[in-house]
Subunit: 244 residues, 2 copies
DNA sequence: GGCTGTGAACTCCTTCACAGCG
DNA sequence: CGCTGTGAAGGAGTTCACAGCC
């Protein structure tokens, strides 16, 4: 009855036997977020010619403690470090990339060629690591046909056809909240099962569709919360609670 | 010794007395993220003329279950619902906004007037709820002086002076990874303690500085992970685990 | 001795289930 | 009766601490 609604929906967990070498399946969200950071750090280290890295160094660069780094890697299965030495940078990077599914081919469409859509189209993260930007859509006749990052903006009407012909399997939604749900429905109907939503709405999508959300407002508001707290009790807390 | 490095750093927790009516302090991250969603849903409901909402309806619209909605609200302190009726939309929205610190005045600077910076400058989330965009900076002479959303882009050299004169207390970093850490250091030195980072690097910031990160690459990669998993065992899992 | 890999303890978050008010 | 508010149970994720290999 209840649709998936946002945040890493779809297939995880599984609840299978808590068996021996549990293979890289159903990794916790928190671990996944960190894996992406490790991968980035490893790429930088690779570029600097580093061959091995200790968990301490890697963890520091990633902004986490080394215990959790080691635990995260242990969840992946196999052994990727040498005791007394550290991790082989290239090997670990390759394994992380494979685990994350970056050795698949991800054909991405951007839905909404406004400022944000155009900005993201130029973003390097969309042109590396298995991701390829293959189509951009918009509803505005003034925008359709414009060239964005080498791609002509297509009319929203052609969404279904283009998804099929371009084998799009991932969508980034950068459109106004008002049209987001409707476009999401069309994407899903057209077979797209992976959606990254930048529109400020909670998308309802059927089970089996992975939806994630990026939300600047949310981040600003959380920042405001912490900042507000800081103001409330400048510096050291006076040990007593303030009441109202 | 270890700096704060990303993600809701700064002052939370406190560890104070686990006393009675624990006032809206040190709310868990997960709760904060949901509060921002509730607030958005409430605003929509308000616009539709709704006066009260049950936890069930609100939770559904927010994409969570009602138990956690009620638990979240209970963490805020006071009672905001009427049993048998539901929540007063306006009153709850106001309380959430206050709790999140949105009744403070947040003066935001965007650092980096590239595509992304300009796109965010026009984003409504930066012009509501206590946030006010007050300055935009860039290093590129060709960009400096351009008008973005009614503001002239200022040279990066004037960062410190402008932060002081404009009373900037929050920064959004939309610049290349290569210059992000250095700019972050300058922001911190200039007294900014709240930073939202869009650059693809792990920022190191001293304790007491709140840093949050938005990362499209991360989201795409996590999406790829789930999608990859889905491919591995199409549709329903056959109840037995597949091994390799 | 250095550093990984991991059980076990711990802490935090979520879900359950129901008491209690309207 | 309906729906909130919350203690208690349960499940997840993190940290500790150390055994085990290099």
């Amino acid at each position: 009855m209840r649709p998936a609604a946002e945040t890493g929906a779809g297939r995880h967990d599984g609840g299978g036997a808590p068996d021996a070498g549990a293979v890289a399946r159903g990794l916790p969200e928190a671990t996944l977020e960190r894996l992406t950071v490790y991968l980035r750090v490893l790429h930088v280290a690779e570029g600097e010619g580093k061959v091995t890295l200790s968990s301490d160094v890697l963890a520091n660069a990633a902004g986490v403690n080394s215990a959790i780094l080691r635990k995260d890697l242990s969840l992946l299965g196999g052994s990727f470090g040498r005791r007394g030495v550290g991790y082989d940078v290239a090997r670990l990077a390759e394994h992380l990339a494979t685990t994350l599914g970056l050795r698949e081919q991800w054909r991405v469409a951007i839905v909404g060629a406004g400022n944000l859509g155009r900005a993201l189209a130029g973003y390097a993260g969309l042109r590396n690591n298995g991701f390829e930007l293959t189509a951009i859509f918009d509803m505005d006749p003034d925008v359709i046909g414009n060239i964005v990052n080498g791609l002509a903006v297509r009319p929203a009407e052609s969404l279904e056809a283009a998804i099929e012909s371009e084998h799009v399997n991932m969508a980034v939604m950068t459109l106004p909240g008002a049209s987001a749900q409707q476009m999401c429905d069309r994407l899903v109907a057209a077979g797209v099962r992976n959606i990254l939503n930048f529109a400020p709405v909670v998308l309802q999508a059927p089970d089996g569709v992975n939806v994630r959300k990026v939300d600047m407002s949310r981040e600003l508001q959380i920042l405001a919360y912490y900042a507000h707290q800081d103001i409330g009790h400048q510096d050291a807390v006076p040990a007593e609670d303030v009441g109202s």
